[in-house]
Amino acid sequence: MADDASNPSPIDRRRFLSVLGISGAGAAVLSGCSTGQVQKLIPYLVQSEDQIPGVATWYASTCSECAAGCGLHVKTREGRAVKLEGNPEHPVNRGKLCSRGQAALQGLYNPGRLKAPMVRAAGGGFQEITWDDAIQRLAAKLGAAGGKVAVISGAGRGTLSDLLADWTAALGGRLVRYRPFDHEPMRAANRAVFGRDELPAHDFGRAEYILSFGADFLETWLAPVENQRGFARSHGFHDGRMAKHVSFAPRMSLTGQNADEWHAIRPGSEAALALALANLLVTEHGAAGGPLAASLAAFTPESAAKESGVPAETIRRIAREFAAAKPSLAVAGGVASQHRGAIEACAAVNVLNWVAGNIGQTVLFGADLDAGDGAAGLDALGSALDGGQVAVLLVHEANPLYAVPRSAGFAARFAKAGFKVSTSPYLDETAAQCDLLLPDHHGIERWDDARPRAGVVGLMQPVMEPVFKTMATGDLLLKTAQKVGGALAKFNAPSYEAHLKARWADFAKAQGQADAEGFWRAGLQRGGVFTEPPAVEVKPVPGFTPAYTAPGFDGTGEFYFAPHVSSFLYDGRGANKPWLLENPDPVSKITWQSWVEVHPATAARLDVRNGEILRLTSPQGSIDVPVYVYPGLHPDVLSVPLGLGHTEYGSYAKGRGVNALDLVASKAGQPFVPYLSARVTVAKTGTYRKLASTEGNPRQLGRGIAEAMPVALAAKGLSVREAAAAEGHAEGEANPEREVEALKGWAAEVHERTRKGDYARELPQWGMTIDLAKCTGCSACVTACYAENNIPTVGEDEIHRGREMTWMRIERYWEGADPASPNGGAVEARFVPMLCQQCADAPCEPVCPVYAAYHTADGLNGQVYNRCVGTRYCANNCPYKVRYFNWYKYNDHAWPEPLNLQLNPDVTVRARGVMEKCTFCVQRIRGAQNQARLEGRPLKDGVFTTACAQACPSDAIVFGDLNDPQSRVRQASQDHRGYHVLEELNTRPAITYLAKVTNRTEA
């Protein structure tokens, strides 16, 4: 078959040779070398010793998708980056990576990237120019600007930011470091309470009790991957115990869904709660209130109950539990709870932490997480723009015209700049308004370093020849400096690489390293230089008194408008990456769309249903958006995800969904954007739009798919069925006891048969365990699976028809009250990563008429794409519904040039008309086995793993050989919490799920 196995849109030969040649020019496995710039293209006539076609080369780098600055390992094949994974040595993410980080690859190969420098043409459009020309034009403008220069930069702390600062200063201009989500309230609160203007680090791993006041720390709050790793360590069930997580928030975010208790509070009441708890700790639980004790007395549980709607006795109970746990951790802040009282809220939580003695234990000052100047900085620049003080405005790694709420009127002020320059690699909203476009390299095409926090310096190195005719902004600045001369003449490094190495030479000196070059190479190899920052003692500044004033809201609408940050789209930069659009939102399971979350009771009252389009109107504007009825919401709150509704930013993002910021009030002179500050009125439009949701029936119907048990029973070492019996539930087992025995016997007999002929040899039996006590449903594994296995994105229309191809999906089941009922808020979410169970007695295999589905000797359900004729019988007969069919030629549409360059060369791209499925990343298994064979060593446990297990920030997934008694997976699969989904069907899956453990106080 011609259409089998063939790359849907093959790389054209010249590019292929070029990348081949370039990487030949000098790459190294995690070595200090870089691809550099090539002079001429050479095919592999002479084999370069560190580039073997067919063998991956890995480079260490740093992620720049958010401020956390996680470490990367970039996998390249024949000179193309094909996968991003976490750097195990990096202290922030320890080898793990979130969906956004992994999807950076689709930013690199994005079809919407600018392919060359462009200048605004007379006609209004843009026209392509040469770099020399571009630099000439910029230099001329800068020369003429006479110091009236401004730079907006979203670049993280690092050498480029420094250069940018010096460069701007030398020009006599002003630099604003602006990121939309800058956590200004937290810093303000830390300034107020502890007198330190910084963002501390938080050690979730040590916390015995976690209180979250609206902080979505598993999604976008500070360093999500680090948070999740810590959370899994403390909240995951281990040696009979686990931390408890209580969440106070108007909306049940993914973080809230992972809480043992979620309390739907009235928006803006966090401070009241936190202070009441602090008060209780001091008055009733003997915590040292110190100077604050007196001022806390005013905050009684009763008043807090009145403000928040959480019953006073619940507050007392939580205070009791919180006081008993040491150390504990309370967190606040984040966009979702950024109302006008956000600073007070953060301050209150600081107080709570201090009273509980968490400062220095789980709240670590001195870490000084990276943050910019925030909205205030942009606001100040705004007035300069108004005053005509900006002749040249350079925008770098920022998209203020999208991320600043329209109500702030920034667009108008932006337009007043004389000459506007953008270095954005994409034609985003801001770039579209600029006069000169100087597209920057993507993060993994260029040199740089990042200092996301004290003690952590991550390096970024170009791992491949740039995809397009772009230029690293560092080089741009240096070249321009030479052209402008004058004060800029001092920036005379031949290239940014040289500049960076020079800075590192200084750094080496500062570190007392004699051999600068060795230091540099070591840094490149490890991905940076990582040291423990000295901890800083902090205590409340004298005279600080905690306060709570109910925050004000604009408008008179009956609903609070609470926009939330999508953990995929973040500040909108995810909207042009198909992986992030197609991967179902972890909370709503909706893809490719905007939606408004409505509480079931509210929906019943308004008489609206899923997909019905509502018009939300705030004083600032109105949006039309389809309803998603969601139980995890305060009944008076409507919530819409941020990040969509782009007017530019490439074909994927443009015109998709609505921009929730249009309803947000953002006035001049305020220290931060109060995202949660509007009240909205709703009006039915009478129109409908089917939700592109992957959610089927969200109830388990007692089928024991996502099992759970209370920590008390788990501590006794009970199995799922014993626990169910202990709780007096009728067991979900479909087979009565007497049949189970018979089945077991039969199973054993069948198992004997499965070891016939070729299968009799003593071979590994690949297996997996998934610990539901650790899984947070973040879906990083799903993105990893897309990246590793060349899974096509099918788009909104096909998802309407249930045809998503996610080999691995996160099923989210509701337990407890019926979400459709008015008290639907009281529900528990359970996550089950569902992928091929690689059954030993697989129902899918015998029904295939052509043996396309068969059992491999090492216990996998093989799927021979070339042999498949597409009867789809296997999919009908798969009880887990984890087989996916190519209804159309998805491979023709899923990877428009140059996205196809990302495809993993080790995995077939499936043709139309064939069935596909997870095979435990068989390409990785075989790769590792061959490597071991070549090196004449046995394949040891843990030397490789599947893409999903590798990515999982919680380490919930363990993969390995079940026949190896020492393997982690073997140990884990014998855990007392272990169970198989649909065990009664006797399919004997190779995946063992470990039941979730809940830590609830039955009140």
Partner: protein
């Protein structure tokens, strides 16, 4: 022959029979021509749809996982089922020496062959890579990969091939003496055609001796065959885990249903046909009365099977089965479920009344209900069962599209095209068997 025990069915001489039957092969009426081209039109619709499916992929059809089989397999089972009544009447009733089959069996046999011909297309149409269907056959390919005989689909391949071959042989075999009779009546080029088709048949004692004997054995082989074919088709479902498919009752239940649907189709076809071809005096109410009785029997068996499915679902205590059957009656597919039960279980019970059994208009209406009901039976079994199986998170519904209806229409066109063509070209009533039942004149008069 046993027939003489019955009331004499036909009151004409041998010469009349030959004349009347040969008359059906004369110039076609405009009505017939219109009907024929109508069928061809429908067929073209189907062909065009298939073309698009092969070009772009099956995505155009309404498939919506977890529903991986839908209208195509439904229609496949529907047509296979139709065939069964034909073989039943021509083979089984032959063994039972049932006299009333004689007048109708040729048309039902033709129906069988064309129905199977239609059905046989669907396994090819419905697969993802239609051009590779031959991979299901055990032929020695370059790598000596053999098909998987453990898969019920392979059983299907063999069952359908066998069924098609044997029923075609049966039809052609029975035709030979009649074609010879036509040969001796017509002239011109048609004589040449029929002469060729009659394969040198003269009706000598020697020919009849072997012919009649072999006919008996063919009937004896076709009888278990027809029972096996639909059993195998039912195992496509019964062998799977899907709740609502996984039932031991399936084989007999499907066979009864198949014959039931076939009888419905026989009536739908023969009632108009006998008028169009002026065969009222050969195919009489007596025949339809008997057809209707058989329909009543099979319909009642279905009634029982439906009841039993629900009983077992409840009695088994299996939560999956229970959910499936509850939703079959009250879930999103309640309308299909009740259509099936009404048309098959309830409507068939009308046939207890002789008034209805002998009123052709009434019978025709009933037969239409049967056809609809039996199509929906398969639709319900396939679609509604798949829509809600083990993993609730994967549940979804089906939205059939133009591609589904196009192929469905095409199948009717394809079938009608062949059947009409046949009815015009070959004796639709078995001349020699009718004659066998008409005593030849005697010089001494009286019967022997």
């Amino acid at each position: 022959m046993a027939v003489l025990a019955h009331e004499p069915v036909i009151t004409q001489t041998h010469a009349d029979v030959t004349r009347d039957v040969v008359a059906t092969l004369e110039k076609p009426s405009t009505g017939y021509v219109l009907l024929f081209f109508g069928a061809v039109g429908l067929f073209l619709v189907g062909a065009l749809t298939l073309l698009i499916l092969v070009k772009d992929g099956l995505g155009h059809a309404g498939y919506q996982p977890p529903i991986f089989w839908s209208v195509y397999i439904t229609t496949f089972v529907f047509w296979i089922g139709i065939g069964h009544a034909g073989t039943l009447i021509s083979a089984i009733l032959y063994l039972f020496r049932s006299p009333w089959r004689t007048a109708v069996y040729r048309s039902t046999e033709a129906m069988t062959v064309f129905a199977v011909m239609t059905a046989a297309l669907f396994p090819i149409i419905h697969i993802g890579r239609q051009w590779l269907f031959y991979w299901l056959l055990p032929y020695p390919n370059q790598r000596f990969l053999w098909p998987n005989f453990k898969s019920p689909l392979l059983w299907d391949v063999f069952a359908i091939t066998t069924y098609f071959t044997v029923s075609t042989t049966f039809l052609v075999y029975g035709l030979v003496p009649d074609v010879a009779a036509v040969r001796d009546k017509v002239g011109g080029w048609r004589k040449l055609v029929y002469k060729f088709a009659s394969a040198g048949w003269l009706g000598t004692d020697n020919q009849w001796r072997h012919y009649s004997r072999a006919y008996l054995y063919l009937a004896a082989l076709a009888t278990p065959l027809v029972l096996s074919v639909h059993s195998v088709v039912s195992w496509d479902f019964a062998m799977a885990l899907v709740p609502g498919w996984h039932g031991t009752i399936f084989a007999p239940y499907f066979v009864a249903g198949a014959i039931y649907s076939g009888l419905g189709m026989v009536m739908t076809l023969v009632i108009p046909l006998r008028r169009a071809l002026k065969l009222e005096h050969m195919i009489t109410k007596y025949h339809f009365d008997n057809l209707a009785k058989l329909t009543l029997l099979t319909g009642s068996i279905l009634f029982y099977a439906y009841g039993m499915e629900y009983f077992i679902a409840w009695y088994s205590g299996n939560t999956f089965e229970q959910t499936t059957f509850f939703r079959r009656a009250f879930g999103p597919y309640w309308w299909a479920g009740w259509t099936m039960i009404t048309c098959n279980a309830f409507v068939s019970q009308l046939l207890w009344f002789k008034k209805i059994r002998t009123n052709l208009t009434a019978l025709f209406v009933v037969s239409i209900f049967i056809n609809i009901g039996m199509w929906f039976e398969r639709y319900v079994i396939i679609v509604s069962s798949l829509s809600n199986d083990f993993i609730p998170w994967a549940w979804d519904g089906l939205n059939p599209t133009w591609a589904d209806w196009g192929i469905l229409a095409g199948s009717f066109g394809w079938f009608g095209m062949w059947f009409l063509l046949f009815a015009r070209t070959f004796p639709i009533v078995a001349i020699q068997e009718i004659k066998e039942m008409i005593p030849l004149p005697r010089r001494r008069g009286g019967q022997h």
